[in-house]
């Protein structure tokens, strides 16, 4: 349906060009919110006159926006799938993995009904996940598959947990807030997200052998309106200072 795409491209492109060209536009996975805001402040301090504007959302949303012509300089995704897709369509230049993450289960800090991983499969538990196109949603499915295959909680563990799913959210932070509000009994998020709400939630770890390693790629958009600044920003993320901030926020190298 090329006409639909052309129409949407026009609309989004106009919307994107309203903002100033002096500003660096970084589209980053929702899980990077705190770390990238801190790196952004560092960047603005070391580059007087430069401003960084972030668009934090599910990586799949950011990818769609870029495909539809959004003027973006830097893309940082929570998985390789969306970066690969943008690279294959010639929109994203070469990318580098700059951080790693893992999946955990979060439960409300008080009155939790889920105490251990096997409780996730108990009938009536309300489990919130991210949608299938959201990186953490895909990782969640992989983790459940691994747990099922391991046979620890029965080989129908995945099916029983999936029967308890009550919502598929568009990014990891919405999953976290539904658990923090106490509306859901459990949710699957990244370890780094869990660390941002420790007063409201409790973490149940998923052993490494059943877990996945989420890889975060970062790259420049081929049509970046501000390529020089974009390069400097990526260098900052990959450099010592950027790494220190990411480590502090719980990301692995």
């Amino acid at each position: 349906m090329p006409r639909a795409r052309a129409g949407l491209v026009a609309v989004i492109a106009v919307a994107a060009q309203v903002s100033s060209a002096e500003t660096l536009h970084v589209s980053a996975a929702a899980s990077l919110t705190e770390a990238f805001q801190e790196i952004g402040q560092l960047f603005e301090r070391s580059h007087p006159g430069a401003a960084v504007e972030f668009n934090f959302a599910g990586s799949q949303v950011l990818r769609t926006q870029i495909e539809q012509g959004a003027a973006v300089d830097v893309f940082a995704s929570a998985d390789l799938v969306h970066a690969d897709a943008l690279e294959a369509s010639g929109l994203l230049g070469p990318y580098q993995v700059f951080a790693r993450n893992r999946v955990v289960v979060v439960v409300p800090a008080q009155h939790g009904k889920v105490g251990r991983l096997q409780d996730l499969a108990r009938p009536g538990m309300k489990v919130v996940v991210a949608g299938a196109t959201v990186p953490v949603g895909r990782y969640t499915t992989q983790v459940l598959g691994k747990l099922s295959a391991a046979g620890l909680y029965g080989d129908d563990f995945q099916a029983r947990v999936q029967a308890n799913l009550v919502s598929q959210e568009t990014n990891v932070r919405v999953v976290l807030s539904k658990v923090a509000l106490g509306e859901a009994d459990a949710g699957f998020v990244y370890a780094t997200d869990a660390a941002t709400a420790t007063d409201k939630i409790r973490v149940i770890d998923i052993p490494g052998r059943h877990n996945v390693i989420a890889e975060y790629p970062i790259g420049l958009l081929v049509k970046s309106p501000a390529p020089e600044k974009a390069k400097a920003f990526v260098a900052l993320v990959l450099g010592e200072e950027g790494r220190a901030i990411l480590l502090k926020r719980g990301f692995a190298r």
Binding site: A4, S167, T170, E183
Partner: protein, 270 residues
């Protein structure tokens, strides 16, 4: 010099059209675009995807229940506001208007805090094993919250416009108050009631923000057409456009129905 019609001293039509056309085009163009971007066969093909079909059924079911509730609960309130002077009527009036003006997502947060699991009401319900969030009931509640003011406003205006002398005449002829209400007041207010009903249904149909906050997003249970558009937009643009086109068709049908109803049932006595 003969004037064209009753509005003497009016600016020339051509100038008025010049001023009015931009808005007509601005509203019309995007809506036309929704239907022009893909062929009807393609639209139908994308609409037959499981995502779209489940969302359509859920939306029809929930909006019908929500509209019925809006009418059943809105009718007494509208009549009260129209006919019974009481202290604090302005307060109630403003309160009922609020869902029209507050952002729907704020309404969703408010509903969550009032009826969510951790709320006063939600905790009692939880003890009884009743949970609202993440169920179709939450979808209906969000729709009633957002849409019922549209019915109440229209119905109140309808009741106010009914000539009180007709009701008094019926009473003097021996009709009971209930009989007067159902055989005089309601038929005379019917165009307004129907218009309000259709508007409320259309608003329930387009509900998004409060539903997303309060009910979540799960196919077949809480994923209505608007949430399906958002979900599809992330992976399947064509389906998102097709569902949007369908929603537009439903909205047009609603407006046409409201107009036809108003014309067909315009009370002969009025």
């Amino acid at each position: 010099m003969p004037l064209p019609d009753g509005h003497a001293g009016r600016p020339p039509s051509s100038l008025l059209w010049l001023g009015a056309a931009p808005l007509v085009f601005f509203i019309g163009l995007p809506l036309v675009a929704l239907w022009l971007v893909s062929s009807p066969t393609e639209l139908v093909r994308h609409l037959s995807s499981p995502l779209a079909v489940r969302a359509l059924w859920l939306t029809l079911k929930t909006t019908l229940v929500a509209t019925a509730l809006a009418v059943a609960l809105g009718m007494p309130l509208a009549y009260l506001l129209a006919r019974v002077p009481f202290r604090g009527r302005d307060v109630v009036d403003t309160l009922v208007d609020l869902p029209i003006t507050i952002p729907p997502v704020v309404a969703g947060v408010a509903l969550l805090l009032a009826f969510g699991r951790r709320s006063l009401i939600g905790r009692q319900l939880d003890v009884l094993g009743v949970q609202i969030a993440f169920t179709s009931v939450a979808v209906v509640m969000a729709q009633v919250f957002i849409a019922s003011p549209f019915f109440v406003k229209a119905a109140r205006a309808g009741f106010e416009a009914v000539d009180g002398r007709l009701e008094t005449a019926a009473r003097t002829l021996g009709a009971s108050p209930w009989r007067v209400f159902w055989t005089i007041t309601v038929p005379l207010a019917r165009p307004a009631l129907l218009a309000g009903l259709v508007l409320a249904w259309a608003r329930a149909l387009s509900e998004f923000g409060a539903t997303m906050m309060f009910a979540g997003n799960f196919p077949g249970r809480t994923q209505t057409l608007t949430l399906a558009v958002m979900t599809a937009l992330e992976s399947d643009l064509e389906t998102a456009v097709a569902i949007s086109a369908l929603s537009l068709a439903l909205a047009i049908a609603a407006l046409l129905a409201a107009r036809l109803a108003a014309r067909r049932w315009s009370a002969p006595l009025a």
